[in-house]
Point group: D2
Chain length 267, copies 4
């Protein structure tokens, strides 16, 4: 039609080839959302598990996601360097991922909150960032996990002070201002008898998702050529499944154990 | 932290100032989704109404959306030229809109399909396109409504031939190949006794959403200064609400009637 | 060849359709360049005329440039909204314009500075900015002309104080700090007997270039069909030539006089 | 001023960090330019040397250019991965490089063509392309050198056939259509007694520029502390200079010899 010229106002937004493509989403105004739904403070296990469930779903839809990392109300998905998913179009990548995640969040809500009504549909923002080198990518993931640690240590102290220590939120904020990690660890230990390092890894480390090959044994029924009898044979199949771990990804160990995530051969 | 440098790999994606910002989303693989959920063919009223419901929700969240237009599995939202929502960042605009829409779709599903289970969470792609002039914007919207018309006329014929005419899908496709609008109108009329122009406007025109000021009368209860008695007064309040219409937006009439959509004074 | 894949790392940079495309260049480190070549202060007429000469050359090469504006070491070229020059590719536009300008600068140097050796080749930066509306474009040009005025008034005072008033550069700077336009006009008048408004328009207004149709009369010699005699006829031809003016382009007058610059019909 | 808002229509165009930045320029319509200036065919040594001279000048101005490669009417400049020149702004990089190159071309013309008048100022287009990995960068440079080889072999045959073989340009084109490299080598050898591999490397390999540290010995004159006598001492200074070579850069040898070009330590 004579209106079709308007198509040409669209711009190309292909990601630079040969770069890692990171798609990061983050809950919109989850400060309010977590209040409205009375999430436990500082960490709500069900809420985090719901996030993880959605992320696993996204990974299964987009098999070029080689690793994903989540914490709090955010998730980062890393598409492998060579992906041609959506011809590497940034808009397509971020909107497909984020809308699928958001829809899954509502879809799976009741599995994680069987006794809590979802009050309103949540929104998430999302962005694409590309990283040229493996080191840049690992630094990106380290940045997110360090963020998880810093926030979690702070929030753990803050809510202990408020919920058990009798501090007002203002006072708690004041008390923590300018303190170092060591101070916060000490505070938890001396005042609340908590060894921070013994808190659940889900809270302290966040969640990392990646693919693992598993062998599945299954029974296959067939008719042999020369007989009428139905025979049964055990067959071994290799499947790629998403693994969920709460583990350090800043150090080298994780990456040495799983070199294939960065597209390297197992040594 | 020493990892924070990775932030600088993000790119700015502000939309050009003084341009209309169109955010268009489209259901991912809704061919399959509508099959899986047995949508009526060619148009499923409930499915369309669900789309509209989500779009109204989005408009209420983003009041800088001055008009929206939907048909089939897609919706276009037009942010006013001067909007500073998300500092006009394209990624933020498209991902917030699309994720809210997707979440609403699942959230509201059961209202429109009380007897049908949602089988899996749907995804939507989304893009941002900017248009410098009012004419370009109107041409954009005309393009979408013309698309609605063309597809709907075709689909109406196609499914009539298949569901009532005894044609296979291949035969129906063959029969319609190369036909003009007039041929299709004629076919519907002569073979199926259908006057195309009498089909529901929802199907033929799609849906346009825009803001309208309405006067609301409400009762206000108050204590007067000098008495203890509770008094009651009728107050008139002007509220902005989203109106839903199925109407031609290609011609001038609609735009003359609602100049404020394009930011012009009512004459 | 097997290396050709590297082409795909190039990105598209088409300018948004239906927008004015402004290409602005600016001399690199002309502070030093004008010192090295002992340009008169604050304005060197020959230097400005050389800039204008190059700009006229550029306009003649790119006939989609509808208007250009220059001052100091900079020039802005405005491509008409609908131009398809270089498919509107921003890189092509800015680099072709700027390299042609720079080459012309050296090529024509000796015409404007017959007695001065060019010491080294100058560089210019250049950028593309797009403007959606006529108003935005006029504001852009007004911005540059206002800049010309402000700088020129300041520089005129500054160099009067230094070259004739016996001030050091520091003292002159100090004296002018915080003064208004009116103060500066007053200073020039009272201290140096100069009426600022009588200074050359080239300095105060900069230079605007645009196209004008001129009738040219020329003699055409031809042999008539039926005779051997060579006859001569006066022919009138309309040519499009670049006009150079030093005039206000902030007010409406200029634009009313030349509506065709913005693509409007003469009224 | 109230017009300054127009600045905000400029867009950011920073190159992705940690990537090689290639700036490639190419003569505009040098088909015509080389005809107008009667360049020898297929290669004009003076013209190529002028190009190289300009490129060396550019490299000396932008010391973050680690390597440059030129052939025919084009030159590629590679800025090191970590450069912060112009904050990595693509427009600034390409326009500064290309305008300096173009100005140098005119500035230095007469040194290379003492007996030929420059007819008109040449223009060059220019673009920025970024490459994430060393391999991509080497492939880019290989692509250009392979292009040099292919064109040069073809052009050598073509002009031999035309200038010495008595072919028309059409006939020569026809004769070469579909031939392989080996065919062309053979043709040159059998018909024109030319061993292609003995032609000047400047023509066959193009030109590569890179930095090399050289020791300079110079005499320093000074007064010793305790005597009035002027003494003289030989001092050794290390300077970085641009080296010009016509050599293969597709194979590994060049890169093993000069690992510092790609920012690696000499082994
Ligand atoms: N109580 C509770 N709150 C949580 C949990 N996970 C996330 N949140 C809340 C705490 C933070 O206020 C918020 C995440 O911080 P953000 O920086 O993403 O801010 P927010 O989402 O409010 O705003 P945004 O729209 O992202 O700018 O979500 C949880 O497990 N329990
Ligand atoms: N039966 C039925 N199908 C519908 C209705 N609305 C939309 N659809 C289906 C018909 C089309 O196959 C599809 C929309 O066409 P699209 O061009 O968006 O293709 P689709 O979503 O399959 O693929 P995409 O991921 O958008 O490229 O949705 C409806 O009301 N009833
Ligand atoms: N003496 C003299 N100087 C001039 C004339 N026109 C321009 N200039 C000098 C004065 C300024 O220092 C300079 C233009 O200012 P810019 O803001 O463009 O700075 P500059 O080119 O030095 O640095 P840049 O590389 O553009 O950031 O050029 C002139 O006619 N006479
Ligand atoms: N005779 C002669 N011609 C040369 C020499 N170096 C380059 N040229 C000419 C031959 C080609 O026609 C032209 C370079 O090819 P291009 O693909 O860059 O085309 P051209 O510059 O004509 O058009 P463009 O504006 O770049 O698209 O320059 C030379 O040394 N001698
Ligand atoms: O999806 P289509 O085929 O209707 O057309 P499009 O949306 O313009 O194409 P794309 O989704 O690939 O941008
Ligand atoms: O949202 P913040 O404040 O955690 O930081 P950010 O996500 O980098 O900022 P933005 O969402 O504005 O890009
Ligand atoms: O100019 P060409 O034809 O050698 O090829 P290109 O430079 O890749 O094309 P363009 O100049 O149009 O980007
Ligand atoms: O160069 P300036 O300082 O006059 O201002 P600008 O040109 O807007 O700045 P930049 O050259 O850095 O874009
Ligand atoms: Mg954020
Ligand atoms: Mg959030
Ligand atoms: Mg967050
Ligand atoms: Mg599509
Ligand atoms: Mg669809
Ligand atoms: Mg669709
Ligand atoms: Mg500048
Ligand atoms: Mg300057
Ligand atoms: Mg300047
Ligand atoms: Mg080219
Ligand atoms: Mg060329
Ligand atoms: Mg070339």
């Amino acid at each position: 039609s004579k209106y079709e010229y308007v198509r040409h106002f669209e711009t190309q937004d292909r990601c630079l080839p040969n770069c890692w493509i990171v798609v990061r989403l983050d809950g919109k105004n989850f400060h309010k959302f977590s209040d409205s739904h009375e999430f436990s403070k500082p960490n709500d296990e069900a809420a985090l598990n719901l996030m993880n469930c959605c992320a696993v779903y996204v990974m299964n839809e987009f098999q070029d996601i080689t690793v994903a990392y989540g914490e709090s109300d955010e998730y980062s998905f890393v598409f492998r360097k060579g992906t041609t998913q959506f011809s590497r179009r940034a808009s397509k990548l971020m909107t497909n991922v984020v809308s699928l995640f958001a829809a899954s969040y509502v879809f799976n809500w009741s599995k994680f909150f069987p006794n809590k009504q979802l009050m309103y549909p949540p929104a998430f923002d999302c962005r694409v960032v590309v990283y040229p080198s493996d080191e840049n990518l690992r630094d990106y993931l380290s940045w997110r996990q360090a963020d998880c640690h810093i926030n979690n240590l702070y929030n753990t102290c803050f809510w202990k002070l408020v919920l058990q220590g009798g501090y007002s939120t203002k006072e708690a904020e004041q008390k923590l201002k300018g303190t170092y990690s060591s101070d916060k660890n000490e505070l938890l230990f001396s005042q609340f008898d908590i060894n921070y390092n013994e808190l659940p890894q889900l809270f302290r480390k966040g969640t990392v998702l990646f693919w693992q090959k598993v062998e599945e044994k299954l029974m296959k029924h067939f008719k042999s050529k020369d007989s009428e009898r139905l025979e049964t044979k055990e067959v071994t199949r290799v499947r790629n499944v998403v693994v969920t771990q709460h583990i350090d990804i800043i150090g080298d160990e994780f990456w040495k154990l799983h070199p294939e995530i960065l597209g390297k051969a197992k040594s």
